[in-house]
Point group: C3
Chain length 345, copies 3
């Protein structure tokens, strides 16, 4: 893949400028994107913050994508845009691995009752069960399995070895990475004297449009009613979403986050890696939690939240961690000291 | 699926009563279960605690499953049972997705030396290797792979894309969700000056009866001797069980719990999400740990355990977290103050 | 598998000695390895530390692998080596499950443009896409999928249901367990008022030689440039490695560790289970972190690090955890008390 620089400028609706005269400026071939330090003469780069200016000034890139205020900082060809980071994201699509060409691979199994749209790719050894509906231009990669009556929206891409359980609904233009499991049973059991009795999980999972789901992420179906992932939500790898959870639009969930059952998360939230969220909570819109936070109460106020302790050398940590278990005692002793001093006054 | 109300009463051994006269009471068609708030006229619901009474009083459900003490609280038809939550669990089985009809799918590969019982389902593109034994009525779903000499008990159900390694033994009536891996190598290496030398993991995994294993959970085989999951244990998604661990009967392990090697857990324990348990520990019976607990010592006393800190706004948290690293210093300063005041008395 | 004791001695370059006269010593058949307590008469065991001597003295094992200083402690046949634990690791290879015999299974799909070396095994329903290169003696097990142009080094073994994305490079003699995903997209999005715009991940993953990757581990491809796992690194199950991370040679990463993007980890490090490492950090060589550590700053000093609190009964814990959120207040009150006492002196 290679584009002329002017083609890229047009695609990004960018102004192409150059401090020095460059012969054939429009025609410079661009065959990739790289960060300023490692970019080669046939690659384009970008400067998304003033703190990267000096690194970019030495770049060997063919051109840089910059905002208007940075134009005077560089001698090499520039594509001037409002938001260089967004322009980078948009441009990345031009260099992405092309989607596979439509076909139903002869080694796949597609049930006769399944409805397959136009332009669909079904890869080698993939399996599509009864009454599944796969909309136009969807990609079901090799060894992925779509359970009975599930629906896959148009343009949605499943990488290899994805498991979609029966009756799950996936919207349009989603990306679901390998090993993801959508619709497995929620963890529900009624305790008895003789052990647990399984509560069959009768709900499903409804995923909106433009949702990305990372590799080896598990999203359980609802016990009664559905688990819901709203449009534009982005979920990273190895995330656990329990039954009947709800994740709001444009909320981003980093790797290894876990949510217990029936918790609702609002819109535009973000959760750092390994955050744990207890069940039956309500997290409002615009709530952000730092990595490893331990959320056991509902949060209705937008803001940034955190828990845990910082890492120190184990020797120091051991001493302090031991004192943690005396905190309440320390608190009382300080109270006592204050009373004593009060008396003495 | 639809049942007459009286059929459900009989199945649950419930008494069917109604405060008001309902014509054709026995014949009311029930086509699903829902919670009281969202139940429709053809669904049944249940009240498992007095705190849900008022919500249930407005329910549009065809009937409610309740305990005897709540009979006077409702006007609509009731199924009276001892334990409504258990009745719900039992009834859920009547509305569950039916198991697939017995077949060995032509696209699957089943080794000639494998023994396949009566009524077994082997799905599309599934793989069953040499000398595997699959007992009656087991379900091996699409793209699941059963390694050489593994044994799958009768009635056990594997969802798609499960990996069972060689020689693993799974008991009867287990449920294993997609992406689960049972029998991968334990993490064992002998360190040398030039790096690690692999310790081949010569044991296996033995899973009892009526065990549920969640999606994308990994259970490693033993180094020497076996990893053991006892009958009735329930394991959620994305759980890591290291080599030579043992999980007791009727113990429930929530999502993303991790257990390091050779740890033994007793019966009827429960572990909240993301709990981490160090290696070579003994956890007795009836031990419960809240989510994200960090268990580094054996626990032989039944009870509820926890660790970690609560979540606050990051600004507040940062200040307190900084002080955590001064806890031992604070402790000493309090000691000092107490001594000083003692002197002054 | 069974070996004569003398064969094992020769393989380990061990001295075979016996305190008591044993007829046919060289020919004792050894059909397995076990720990001293459970070893049977046809198994060999080992003593890697003086603390295991007494347990081993009662062993029914046919022979023990010991170091020279322990020879006088035992009456049964001994194989004397420098490092018994290493000898155990080396010997474990003799009893390991044999690798599958070379074949390309007829139910697999191998693209015509793929290059398959000598002695390669491609299992049932495995998929090898266009222009993949699989070097000699590699094993691609059932239902594993290798994306376009990926390269698998000689002797590398993939267990079933592994997903390797396009262009990923895996070195020689690696072991990759079931459910592992290598090369899924890094979690990169440009925020806009209307939601996130995907940053296509244009880099790849480069894995060195002799790397082990556990089951259900996810390693994301780089955004620009590659994610790198250096030779000899060992990664356990359910680990999350984000885009553009780098893991140094002979570093060991335990189960459920998560690394955010662009973090570089040095050589010979170790991370306990569930450690979380923030993005864009530099962790030097020989850094070790205990389980569940929360690493948010770069560490350039070798040593052992930790964070978090110890587990106590929940009742006690609740009191102390509440005080954690008053730590800064407590600190100030202690300051105040000290000032007051200072004044009084």
């Amino acid at each position: 893949m290679s584009y002329r620089l002017i083609e890229i400028a047009e695609y990004l609706e960018a102004e192409l400028v150059s401090a020095s005269s460059v012969p054939g400026l429009d025609d410079i071939p661009i065959s990739g994107i790289a960060d300023p330090e490692s970019a080669m003469f046939d690659q384009i780069s970008f400067v998304s913050s003033t703190k990267y200016i000096s690194a970019a000034q030495n770049s060997k890139a063919a051109a840089l994508i910059v905002s208007a205020d940075l134009v005077d900082s560089f001698q090499i060809p520039l594509l001037v845009v409002k938001n260089p980071y967004l322009a980078y994201a948009q441009l990345s699509a031009k260099f992405a691995e092309p989607r596979p060409v439509a076909e139903v691979h002869p080694s796949s199994f597609v049930a006769e009752t399944a409805q397959i749209g136009e332009g669909v790719y079904i890869g080698a050894n993939a399996v599509v069960q009864d009454n599944v509906v796969i909309a136009d231009n969807a990609v079901i990669s090799a060894c992925s399995v779509i359970g009975a009556r599930a629906r896959i929206g148009s343009g949605t891409m499943l990488y290899p070895n994805v498991s979609i359980y029966h009756d799950v609904v996936i919207g349009k233009d989603c990306v679901i990475h390998s090993g993801a499991v959508i619709g497995s049973d929620g963890f529900g059991f009624a305790p008895t004297k003789n052990g647990y009795v399984k509560i069959h999980q009768l709900g499903s999972v409804i995923v909106g449009d433009d949702v990305e789901i990372g590799s080896n992420t598990s999203i359980d179906r609802g016990a009664l009613g559905d688990t819901r992932i709203h449009s534009g939500a982005k979920i990273d790898n190895l995330v656990h979403v329990a039954h009947n959870c709800e994740i709001g639009s444009h909320t981003a969930i980093a790797g290894q986050v876990g949510m217990a059952g029936s918790t609702k998360i609002g819109q535009r939230c973000s959760f750092g890696g390994q955050v744990g969220i207890a069940g039956h909570l309500e997290i409002g819109d615009d709530v952000h939690a730092l990595g490893q936070s331990r959320i056991t109460k509902s949060i209705n106020k937008p803001g940034i939240y955190a828990s845990g302790t910082g890492t120190t050398e184990a020797k120091t940590w051991r001493k302090n961690a031991a004192r943690f278990n005396q905190l309440d005692e320390l608190y009382r002793r300080i109270n006592e000291l204050e009373k004593l001093l009060e008396k003495k006054k």
